[in-house]
Every structure is written in C-alpha cells, then in structure tokens.
C-alpha cells in the first residue's frame, strides 16, 4: 500500500545526511553550470530542483568503465563483484523509465548480467518529478508523465517548502521507518503513471522500416561522434578491454556506441555496417523497434539529452516524426 508523507526540504537534507554513512549517496550536484549525478559527501551539495541533469544516473548501475575481473600473475581469476549499498536521489521520471529498459535488457532472458543485477539490487531509487518541460524534452510525446513515476522506491513531488514523499516499495518504507514523518492523505488519482498513450511511436514491419526509409538523407549530417549514445539513458552496448598492470590482466567493460565504425567490424575486415547510413539506422531501429520486439519497451524516453548534446543538431524526435509521416 502506498503511503504519503510530508517532508520539509530541510528535513529531507537531514535524512539524507544521516543515511550518508550507511550508503553511497548519489545525487544531482552542480559542476560549474552543469548539473550532474555524482557521489556526494556533503548533503549541502545536493540539488533537488526542476533542472534535468546532463546525463542520467545509469553509470552508477552500468559504469562507463567497469573492472569486471582480474587474471592474477599466478593464473587465478578474481571477479570484481562489488556493489556498494547506494541511494540515488533525484531521479527524473524519464530516467526511471529508462532503467526499466536497462533492467529488461540486462536481467531478462536466458542470461542475467550479474554485475548490473547486483548493483540494482543494492540501490534505492528516489525519484523526483519535473515541473516544466525543458528545451529538447519530449517525454509527453513518448507517453511519460514527467510529474510522477512508480518505477522507484520513493518518489518526491516538490510542494514549495516541502516534498510529498510517496513510499512505493518495502525497501523505501524500511529506509524511512526510523524517521518520524507526518503522514499525508492524498488522492491516488492525482498520480497517474502515464499521462497519455505515446504519440511518437513507430508501428512498422522491421524490413519495411529497414529498406524503405531514406536513411541516407536522414543521417547525412551525422558526424558519427557517438555523443548521443554516451548521454542516452537507455544505451547499453559495450566492449571488453584488457589492460595489463604489473603482470596482472584486468578486464574492463566499457561503453561502446553503434555510431562507431569498429563497433561491428570483424577481424576479417568485413563490416556489416560500413557507413553512417547503416549505423544511424541501427540507432533508430534499435531504440524504436528492436527493444520493443524483444522486451516490450521503446528505448527512447524523450529525455532530450541527445538533442541537447548533438554538435550538429541531429534530432531523434524529428527523425521519428518524419518516419511516421512517411509510413502514413
């Protein structure tokens, strides 16, 4: 049963402060003018406002560079399975939706990615609603309610001097149980999971979309820099890289991007995606079709980060709109 509590903003800071010793606390903080998710040691640095952080907090569950195992000098294999107890606070509804996609990819099917699974299990997610739509954002078109999501343990709604905390999971209730909070009656109907059906959605046969779309024209100005993948909350592709340090071989898992020519390059020299046309097609079709076919989610939440970050103004929202128009 969901419960609601009134948490004055100063009180929330105190609560987070008292949890600091027990948990790794990750929150939006300012780095210059940029808002980023970082591990914090001082709760005064935590910024729980309306701005959307530059990247999603996915790197705390799926690090950009992650040491996954070490082959020691004497021929032993040591997996690095550390997963610190973590609280991530201030996660926006779009990024909570993205974590559903990441969770499906990494934990559903025949194999489970135990590195992601263990980190997710040890993470408490505290969501935070958005008041306004930011430039580039299109979560509404993707059918996501920017004000509320239940895909977390506790969800915060900004009420001015206080937050309304909606306690969603047992994990969320347990972490708050030692703090004496004022309960609040609230109409459940205030909090709809989804505001509307997505208007930006591709309903097409795989081969039709693959063959009959003007991918050359659509991808013409793309530089292939891969920035979109690095700021995307659902991009999850990776490569392994071994590094030898003092006789030990350390295997890292690193983010990779389908925008790069070497992403699919075979050792023989053959490349199934030799040009940016094929690579950009993969990006759009993976997000809007393949993940939906395999897991039931569209892997684009409308967070707008790729649009805000692209050096040449590529815009996935207009690309998808254009495709939808062509398919009509």
């Amino acid at each position: 049963m969901m419960a609601h509590a009134v948490v004055p903003k100063d009180r929330l800071r105190e609560i987070l402060g008292s949890l600091l010793g027990k948990y790794r606390l990750v929150a939006p903080v300012r780095e210059g003018s940029t808002l980023v998710y970082k591990e914090v040691n001082n709760v005064d640095d935590v910024v729980l406002g309306d701005d959307i952080p530059y990247k999603s907090p996915k790197e705390f569950l799926f690090p950009q560079v992650e040491k996954i195992m070490t082959f020691s000098k004497d021929g032993e294999l040591k997996p690095n399975e550390e997963a610190p107890e973590t609280i991530i606070v201030g996660v926006k509804p779009c990024d909570l939706e993205a974590l559903k996609v990441m969770t499906a990819v990494f934990t559903k099917g025949k194999y489970v990615d135990t590195y992601f699974e263990r980190k997710l299990k040890n993470t408490l997610l505290i969501g935070l609603g958005c008041k306004s739509e930011k430039p580039g954002c299109f979560c509404a078109e993707r059918g996501i309610n920017r004000e509320y999501s239940s895909a977390c343990d506790i969800f915060l709604t900004d009420e001015g001097d206080s937050f309304t905390a909606t306690v969603i999971s047992d994990k969320g209730r347990d972490v708050l149980k030692d703090f004496d909070l004022e309960r609040k009656d609230r109409q459940e109907t205030d909090q709809n999971e989804s505001s509307q059906a997505p208007v930006l959605d591709i309903d097409a046969d795989e081969n039709t979309l693959f063959n009959n779309t003007n991918w050359d024209g659509i991808s013409e100005k793309c530089l292939g820099c891969g920035t979109c993948a690095f700021v995307c909350p659902t991009c999850h592709c990776f490569e392994f890289k071994d590094v030898v340090v003092k006789g030990e071989a350390i295997r890292y898992r690193c983010w990779d991007s389908c925008m790069y020519p070497k992403f699919t390059l075979h050792a023989s020299g053959h490349n199934p995606r030799p040009s940016k046309k094929e690579r950009y097609r993969q990006r759009v079709m993976h997000k809007y079709l393949y993940v939906k076919q395999n897991f039931g989610y569209v892997a684009c939440t409308g967070c707008g980060r790729c649009i805000r970050s692209c050096p040449v103004g590529m815009n996935i929202k207009s690309v998808v709109s254009e495709i939808m128009e062509e398919l009509k």
Binding site: M69, G75, V105, Y115, E206, H236, D242, D256, F263, S268
Partner: protein, 277 residues
C-alpha cells in the same frame, strides 16, 4: 544466477598445423583444468580469452560426444588469434560457453544430409559430421553427401581425417579446388556450379552450408532452384559477438541476436531478416 562473463581455465594440450599454403590455420586441442567441463551440441560456440590480449568467439570444431577434450580451428586474422598462434602446447587459456543455438540434429533424423563447406567453413560443421558419424547415431540419418571446397589442395583442413570419413557407411565426399593442380584427381570449380551435378533427393534432404558469405549465397540460391525447401537449408553466421549472451548489442540482425537466436539459421529465417550481415 551465475556470472556469464567468467571463463574456465583450460590447457592447450595439442596444437595441430592445418594449412600448408599460408600456415594461418591451427587446430587447438584443449582440456579444461580444475575439474571444469563443457557439454555442447553441434553449432554452438565459445568465447576464448588470452588474459591481457582479449576475448573472441569461436565455433566448436570437435565432436560433442568427445568428453576428453574440445577442439577449435582458428585462423590467424586479428589480435586474439595472432596471440593464440604464438602459443604452444602447455599454454593456458580461458574459455566460457557454450553459447548459441544448435543444428537441429533431432529434426534432421531420418533425412539425407548434404554438407557443403568452403575452406575454414568446414570447422563449425565438423561437430555435426562427427556427431552423425558416431556409431550410436549413424543409423538415424540417411546418406551423407559432402562437397568440400578449398582454394587449393593445400587449403583443406582436416585432410588427415578424410580417408576415415570416406569409409563411414553411406558417405560420399566430393572435393573441389578453385584452379587445376598437377596430380589432383578431385573436381575443379566453385561449389554452386558443382552442386548441380550432385544427385540430391530434394524431398528428403537437409543441406548444411558454411564458407565465405558469397559461397553461402550462391549455393543456397542454387539449392532453392533445385527444389530444396528454404527451411531445410541451414547455415551458421559470424558476427562480432563480444558477450555471447545477448547483452552487448554487437551481433544483431534486425531484432535477432546471432549469439542467442543463432548462430544457426535456416534460409527461410534469413530471407525474412534485414540484409545486414
């Protein structure tokens, strides 16, 4: 759940030089150490690691019924294979798997079999061939015809075993090379031409192809033309399969992942997939 990226330690117990023209293919016989083992079926693959260099996918090349060791036949072509080719018997490597689907050995029972392989393409078919040749299994399959192709006589892998293969009951093997050579008494020419000369019972045959992509394409078109159903023409695909477990996002063709939905596909499936492999 167990960690799907953790490999088992294995020892290279024997390294067999395969080709004579470029000397760039070797067959590695491996035994798992520390009580490790790996049960697999024809068509599956492994990820092999050399710590400090990296990891790469390779199809099994030995019989799945052999519980003593596994074999992988590997061409020197990239980082991992270059390092592997410098290793000698006694060296330790790391292996995880088995991954991927298998040739449909149960469905294939009762049918005649046509194997068409080009060059190193014979390696991933060898587990299937040896599985069908096994005394327990041979009677479950009809006649086995093979068309084995190589650029030159020196490029046939497993040549040392061909005599033994030819002696298996109900087996007929045709060999072909690209250009005439002195003393060669096999065929000369490409498999898609020679396949027309073969006596194929199209109503009751499974064809299994592996080789250069162009060979697979031409031969399968020819077989479809001869009346073999697309569902009964099988092949196995290669991709840059980093993880082997459907997570890393490198080997998809459309929504299907070669590492978990393949690597074995039939031509009916392939004809419905986007042309990107």
């Amino acid at each position: 759940m167990s960690n799907p990226y953790l490999p088992q330690k294995a020892e290279l117990v024997e390294v067999i030089q395969e080709t004579s023209s470029d000397l760039d293919i070797k067959t590695y016989r491996l035994k798992f150490l520390d009580g490790g083992k790996m049960d697999f079926m024809p068509g599956q693959f492994v990820e092999l690691s050399i710590p400090g260099i990296g990891e790469a996918p390779f199809g099994f090349a030995s019989s799945p019924l052999n519980r003593e060791y596994v074999e992988l036949s590997i061409k020197r072509v990239g980082l991992v294979t270059e390092a592997l080719h410098s290793l000698k018997a006694g060296a330790k490597v790391w292996i995880r798997g088995p991954f991927g689907n298998t040739f449909p050995v149960k469905e294939m029972e009762g049918s005649k079999i046509l194997i068409i392989a080009g060059g190193l393409g014979l390696a991933p078919l060898r587990p299937l061939i040896l599985y069908m040749f096994d005394g327990q299994n041979r009677n479950k399959y009809g006649d086995i015809q093979m068309l084995l192709a190589a650029r030159s006589t020196g490029d046939f892998i497993y040549r040392r075993e061909f005599g033994e293969w030819e002696r298996v009951k109900g087996t007929n093997i045709v060999y072909t090379i690209d250009r005439p050579e002195d003393g060669w008494n096999g065929k000369v020419g490409f498999p898609h031409i020679l396949v027309s000369e073969m006596d194929i019972d199209t109503a009751n045959t499974y064809a299994v192809l592996c080789g250069p992509p162009i060979m697979i394409k031409f031969v399968s078109n020819k077989l479809v033309g001869l009346g073999l159903p697309k569902e009964k023409i099988l092949t196995t695909l290669e991709m840059r399969m980093t993880c082997g477990v459907g997570k890393c996002g490198k080997c998809n063709i459309g929504h299907q992942y070669v590492c978990i939905d393949g690597p074995v596909f039939n031509m009916a499936q392939l004809s419905e997939m986007p042309d990107e492999y």
